[in-house]
Amino acid sequence: MRDSSEGLDARCVEARELVDAYALGALESREAAPLQRHVSDCAQCREELGKSQRTAALLSLSVRIEQARPRLRERILAHAEKERFEIPGWRRLVPSRRVGTRAVAFGGVVALVFAVFLQAQLSNLRGDNGQLQDQLSAASSELEQQRQIVAVLSAQDTQKVAMEQVSLRSQAESVYNWSPVNDAGFIVCRNFPAPAPGRVYQVWFVAGGRAEPVATFLPQNGGCQIPMDMSRMNWRPDGIGISVEAQGGSSRPTRPWFSYAWFNEASSGGGSHDMRMGIWAAAIGP
């Protein structure tokens, strides 16, 4: 370890001592959170963590293969068959890079057509007098939002994370897409129940014990598209959450998450449960 720490600053040395334990899921959550924050800003330590995680992942392949009972296969396939057309594929709603360029292009074209439509609407509105100012403002805002969504959809580095829904009974689904190059992202959601009168959904970025409000929204027919401009953010969030708050939004989350995502969960070698609970704790607060 001594050799590999030469030339590194103190934070990197500390991080290098933790990456192996993190990859094995052996860190306490209080140790994991600072490491997560450090690797999000340090490419070299991120690479070291990646090597440890890839090594740890290979351990799974060392298990002795046991034969599962055939009835388990029948049970799982029967469930899948039953659900086959109950859950529309996300790709129809949110094209991703893995779908291929055609699907991404389709998504971009749809959003662009809508943007052009809004632009035309905007031009028409400008021709009228000031009584249409509110509509003009709303259309302008929607146009900007669509431009952001197009930018994210068409970016080569677009990434996406399916958000967890806290309620097991909920049919709600939401996906967070973001493009580091564009410093922008957006959430799409479906089957979100209408909140109680006087309440709205509020989106938060979360890191450690900190939660910053991003946007409030009311779903339209259960759906939403919430763009987020991150170009002015001077910190990197570890996760994103949606809670139900009073109309107008809150300065900090006052209710448990309705849905959330931990950005590094999929690639994390372990500790996901603790991380999720960490975000939960941040949401409900002391």
């Binding site: 799974s60 469930h79 594929g89 893995r98």
Partner: protein, 204 residues
Amino acid sequence: MNIQDVSPEERGNSELDDEELMRRLGYRDLGAFQALYDRYGNLVYSTVLRILRDVQTAEDMVQEIFLRIWRKPDSYVAQRGRFVTWLTSVSRNRAVDEIRSRGRRFRYETSSPEEQERELPTPEINDPALRAELADQRRLILAALARIPLEQRQIIELAYFGGLTQQEIAERLCQPLGTVKTRVRLGMQKLRAALTPEVRLEER
């Protein structure tokens, strides 16, 4: 469900690679899902069974893991690594979450790589090429583990398959926390060095 319920074009799914099968899940291709289960069902089952040590709980978890993939195929991002290691990592993490949520009622015991090696070969995976590839990798990983001192290997396995933190391992083994941390680092360094070609294979 009978195999007859699957359309003829879906029956050809067994020849497709993992990434293509996952892509097809997005289009609700039941044949692709069936092919993935046939390919990796026993591996996932074996991974969670090793951690949970209970057949019924392991079966329930295998069902949960596969149906989660069926419902949210986008949770796998091909650029981050091979599907098989992603799937087994997800399975391991989910099983560890389960034992943590149950307050560690399960007891985890390690067996030596030599003992595990003697248990070979038992893979019952339909695809002969995949079966051979996974068996080769398993031998390499067990050989790498066998070269690590017992006290380091034990700690690595307690963390990865037992779901214990370093602090918990120190308490369980009555060792100083600093000793446990050092053994984790040394053991993982040796493992990483011994598995360098395999680790590179995971890179995309």
